[in-house]
Symmetry: C2
Subunit: 355 residues, 2 copies
């Protein structure tokens, strides 16, 4: 068991030792560990080794000169200079909040970035300022569009955080696939099979073999198959890709650089790095914050108290499970899986930083 502070400190020290300025290393650590705290282990400290491997390959710039390269009153395009997405993301979200402050809303497309942790972290940044946060990113191609046998899209998450009054905020954070890749990794570790609709094999045939993606298959868009609406999940993933990649000047679709260091980036890129898209809407650009929050409380209470189907306890509001997990883990500390702990000990020795 480690407290989240211990893990954050360790990660910050490691990022510091590869050349990140101290404040950026701390921020990156906070963003990374927020995933562990919210129970999304696949995007947390388990990825530290992955970031380091990319840095070793020269694919992450530890001290980027992040800049706005184009703007209007409500928009900006940010070049992340190849920095950690964990740092570029919050920087861009700050710009979106500044735009929203003056123009009512702010929309920032980011190119030349890298994996930014959980989308939810960034989407939640504007909450304390009575603003709605929206975050998207494209990602390594692992997903086949409906009818395709090729991996052309990432799991391309969308996160949207909406403030409430007395109730906790509404926070949706979801891959646009049936299941996130992290869930598949869990099944593979346990040697279990995957539910129908999660993956197809290398020929595009739906399979319950959890190793299907590893063996050349693909994750499926939300909906699973055509009959149950996979074309909608495909469209959502495509929109995330276009907003994050095409609007910003980043790579998109099958050109997005893979997160793993053993796959090389595309030889003929169509843009720079990978892309994100951030949106912020000031509540009082529409109606008073008090009125809005009051109605959000009404919304949340009505849904949470609705009649449940047999065998279920309650209807959840998006964000409930992650918030409850975070409340718990801030108290109990975070338990790492043995494999991850071994990796961290290896990193600890390599950089001579105590875990």
């Amino acid at each position: 068991m480690f407290s989240h502070q211990q893990l954050e400190k360790f990660v910050a020290n490691v990022f510091g030792s590869i050349g990140c300025p101290e404040d950026q290393a701390k921020l990156a650590a906070e963003v990374l560990i927020s995933a562990d705290l919210r129970g999304i282990e696949s995007h947390g400290i388990a990825r530290l080794k992955g970031y380091l491997r990319l840095w070793e390959k020269g694919r992450i710039n530890p001290n980027p000169q992040i800049e706005v390269v184009h703007e209007t009153p409500s928009t900006a395009v940010v070049d992340g200079d190849g920095g950690l997405g964990l740092v570029v993301g919050p920087w861009a979200m700050e710009r979106a909040m500044e735009k929203a402050q003056t123009a009512g809303t702010g929309w920032v497309a980011v190119r030349n970035s890298n994996h930014f942790g959980i989308a939810g972290y960034h989407a939640m940044m504007p909450l304390k300022r009575d603003m709605i946060g929206i975050t998207m990113t494209n990602a390594s191609p692992l997903v086949a569009p409906t009818f395709s046998a090729e991996r052309l899209l990432g799991t391309n998450p969308i996160a949207i955080a909406i403030p409430a009054g007395k109730e906790p905020p509404f926070v949706a954070d979801m891959a646009t696939t049936t299941a996130a890749n992290g869930k598949l990794e869990v099944l593979m570790r346990k040697g279990e099979s995957a539910p129908e609709g999660w993956i197809q094999d290398k020929d595009g045939v739906m399979t319950t073999n959890a190793f299907g993606v590893k063996e050349g298959g693909a994750l499926l868009p939300l909906g699973g198959q055509r009959e149950s609406g996979s074309h909608k999940g495909y469209a959502l993933g495509a929109i995330v890709d276009i907003f994050s990649g095409v609007l910003s000047g980043a790579n998109f679709g099958p050109w997005v650089p893979p997160f793993v260091n053993f796959l090389e980036p595309h030889e003929e890129p169509v843009g720079k790095g990978l892309g994100h898209f951030f949106g912020v809407m000031r509540i009082d650009a529409f109606r008073t914050s008090d009125e809005f929050k009051d109605m959000m409380d009404t919304w949340i209470r009505r849904f949470r108290s609705s009649k449940v189907v047999d065998g279920q306890k309650k209807v959840l509001i998006p964000g409930d499970p992650e918030r409850e997990m975070e409340e718990k883990l801030r108290q109990t500390g975070i338990k790492l899986t043995p494999g991850v702990e071994d990796e961290l000990l290896e990193i600890s020795r390599q950089f001579d930083i105590p875990l």
Copy 2:
């Protein structure tokens, strides 16, 4: 067979005779028939009788004073004064485009409106000005959130239209449910059963009985069941509801007024009418239109030419089927189902307007 011009003229005359100003009647007819042209019959002229019944009940104002009630440089809230959504929608989308022209983007929440036809019509309006269009609306409650046995959300569609260069635009237009209600109506007419994951019965048990919704059950969010991601479809439908209803001051969730005249609106509404949400982003608020369109062509061609799974012809780009349908029906004319034609003849007699 009727040409779309014949149908538009008929609808415009009918709307004119209930008191719509001539230009609004024409516009409403164009929006309504665009659904038939794009092959989405459930939202086209088949709904004319529904609009008229609401008008008879005093639930549609044929000559509304639509107005902006609040604004910032990039946002506006529009009160539709109880008008036809077919008229209020385009009016609000025009305001969003004006905002985008000066601020880079424009975001308009609408309250006190009514059913606005297909979301795709409105989302496509900005295309010719090199802008991206985004449209959402809430709708009559027919959908159960994950784990709920109650209908709390509408099919709450999202439409996003993105310009391309030499390729036709990318146009996604989708309910946030596994299947739109219109598809279910087709199955009921044919006496066929529904695929798994479309509906649950009145106790919240998944069923393939196409009459399940009619018998007190509900449509299911995209994803179908928890294991295959229905909590994501639920979150998407919820976001559409909150943006359209809570931001604007319209009704939301189970309070949204039903489209059918035999169900009364809620006795204690939480807002005015139903709500829409419109977004417009100027392409050149991010990068030059030429660069963007060039990359969109690259995106579209790569996806369209991707390797297909056995038994499929090609990977589709969102909007392909509807565009091909429209090209065909503009030539051949539109064939009405006998039931719809009978209803139109009845309307023709009632208003003394030739079909």
